[in-house]
Symmetry: C2
Subunit: 388 residues, 2 copies
């Protein structure tokens, strides 16, 4: 008899993505439980119940499965195997544990993408070190070494620009005595632009694909996203098709972010995340339905909302703490940033800064992408973290 709105939602992880999921969850009136080890995590004050426990504690997963109607997660490095056990016992997990297991292993992810017809850079698994040199001879250098599991924000990637650098790149990724199977190698991609699309699949099979957005990284950390990406209609349409294709390949329910390279030969899929993504934060202010709301709609079985933009242009800029900054902080400059046209400020409420930690973001929306971009740069320049 219970209606969809009576679904009790559990989110594994209460960082900024969990917080922003929480905001839309509570907007629609759902009951929300969040699991996060930090008592003052960003989602702490935005949920009905905060379970303060380790993110990998199976006992806690079970308790959440027993008290929530559906589980989802804000990041992919969690205990997917145990989620699969719970799923097999009847717990709803979206995106499914099987999705997560396939995506967690970047080599499996890439194979599935390739087999499903999505364009990916050339890659090869490794049995022995010589396979790397063989790949380098075949494709030319540089080659990219990647760990199959656990990488994010550039961690887990190492380029070898010449054969002489292979050893060093490999050692930077593989712990002493580690198995080379845990690494794979990829052809270096010469790209014109990094971009991403968000694609969400509902329980009814409908798919909502957001516009291709352009990403700028600094030190492998996302610095800003601009939407629309300003690509040709053909590339935009291809990105939409790839978005649909990727959610079908994984058979996933919920939001998927597909990071891509725009090259002179077209689009190549770099990496898929089975969750809302930093590069989709602009959708909160710019789209009819944000990535977070559509994720919540999808995992609860509500129909998806329109992913189209209601403003012509949007730029999101991350607020990242400086490289050598740790501990308590204050934010200065918010009043200058918010004095500019079209600026929204999100501060995640993290208790302490750490080097290069994502602390918040600014979104600027407006009619003209160039103006919006300038405003976003100016606004971001005002926001600084100062030691408390």
């Amino acid at each position: 008899l219970a209606g969809i709105l009576d679904t009790k939602i559990g989110i594994i992880g209460g960082g900024q993505l969990g917080k922003m999921m929480a905001q839309d969850t509570k907007k629609m009136g759902f009951h929300l439980t969040v699991l996060d080890p930090e008592a003052n995590c960003p989602a702490h004050s935005l949920c009905d119940r905060h379970v303060v426990a380790d993110l990998y504690e199976r006992r806690t997963y079970r308790e959440m499965a027993e008290t929530c109607d559906v589980l989802t997660y804000e990041f992919e490095h969690i205990d997917a195997e145990y989620l699969l056990t719970l799923e097999n016992e009847g717990c709803r997990v979206y995106p499914t544990a099987k999705n997560l297991i396939n995506i967690q292993d970047k080599l499996t992810q890439k194979r599935m993408l390739q087999e499903g017809g999505a364009p990916v850079p050339e890659f090869t698994p490794l049995d022995k070190k010589n396979d790397i040199f063989a790949a380098g001879e075949k494709w030319g250098y540089p080659v990219m070494l990647k760990t199959r599991r656990g990488g994010y924000d550039g961690k887990g990637n190492a380029a070898a620009e010449r054969p002489e650098q292979v050893e060093e790149a490999l050692n930077s990724l593989l712990p002493e005595g580690g198995n080379i199977n845990e690494i794979f190698v990829e052809k270096w991609v010469q790209y014109d632009m990094e971009a991403s699309v968000l694609a969400c699949r509902g329980l009814d099979g409908a798919i909502a694909v957001y516009p291709l957005a352009k990403n700028l990284h600094e030190d492998s950390i996302l610095r800003s996203t601009a939407a629309p990406a300003g690509v040709s209609p053909l590339i935009a349409e291809n990105s939409r098709r790839i978005g649909e294709m990727v959610t079908e390949i994984f058979g996933g329910i919920g939001m998927f972010c597909i990071e891509m390279f725009v090259t002179k030969d077209g689009l190549l899929v770099n990496e898929v995340a089975p969750r809302p993504h930093n590069s989709g934060h602009y959708t909160i202010e710019a789209c009819y339905t944000s990535q977070f709301e559509n994720h919540v709609r999808a995992v609860t079985g509500l129909p998806l909302g329109s992913p189209h933009m209601k403003t012509a242009a949007a730029v999101m800029t991350n607020i990242i703490s400086p490289p050598f900054f740790s501990g308590a902080y204050r934010v200065s400059g918010a009043e200058k940033a918010l004095g500019l046209q079209g600026v929204t400020l999100h501060m995640y409420g993290k208790q302490t800064a750490r080097p290069k930690r994502k602390m918040g973001h600014i979104t600027v929306v407006g009619n003209d992408l160039n103006e919006v971009r300038k405003t976003a740069e100016e606004a971001a320049s005002y926001i600084t973290l100062v030691k408390d």
Copy 2:
């Protein structure tokens, strides 16, 4: 040294308005305390601290004044006198206690509006019953009797259509032995449309005025709001001027809602509320800066954001529980409502229904007001509360 974002905010009242203020408060990372007597009030799961206490308990006001940097409120029937005491001791209260005192008394409010040059219907205070008949003879019938304090959603108003109805109207408002001074009388207004503007004044004196929106009431309860109101450019411009004028008259900081009548002779101010208002909910999805965000910006001293619409049209429809419905409930039809284009659903999470209680609302945004209105009507028709 503390930055503006370190401001600790306290809200008196944790109903839907408190909840929606909380959402923007937490988005920007402020620390938030909410005072509400209900343990499961709508804002309960969206604040850092929920003080469960009576809304008129002075001890609690004092405790909040001591632990928060600024106090605000979600409705006006609170202990303004004691807020004034706290204000005089140095506590920041916005809109100020003096604003609140002036606005709480609808007769004082009206006098100030009139003296400040805002157009209001003719009105007169009462010393004796015969003053009502005198007014009726002067203006013609019907006349409108209003209580000076405590009215809302039509409560506190009574029309007398003929002299013979004056006694009954008066008795419906005035308790046995009550002082007729507590009632005033107003000329009946023949209007073409009920409408409202939201006007927000920042600490720096800047004023942001939202577009005039058209309100439809049923049984004196707001049923829906459409923006823009579809009036002539002259009336739209006049409503903007009145919005500015009214915030100046009260010298207020924060959001003010000015309810107006659109008559064949122009605009008349009906009533002012010193807070975000039901008729401004559409601003969450439709405007660059929502009424709630601008209220939070104002009371914390941040610059105001643009009140302009980012979609051409918006319609908000309240979800109101039926006249004879009380107790536990479930919501049905959300999946049908959210299947329509441009629909956002807000459910406040109230634990129980009461007759004609505001339980949630739907906002529809889009390019064409007629389409948006049709969608809003269809969406609202799907949502029903069923006994649990």
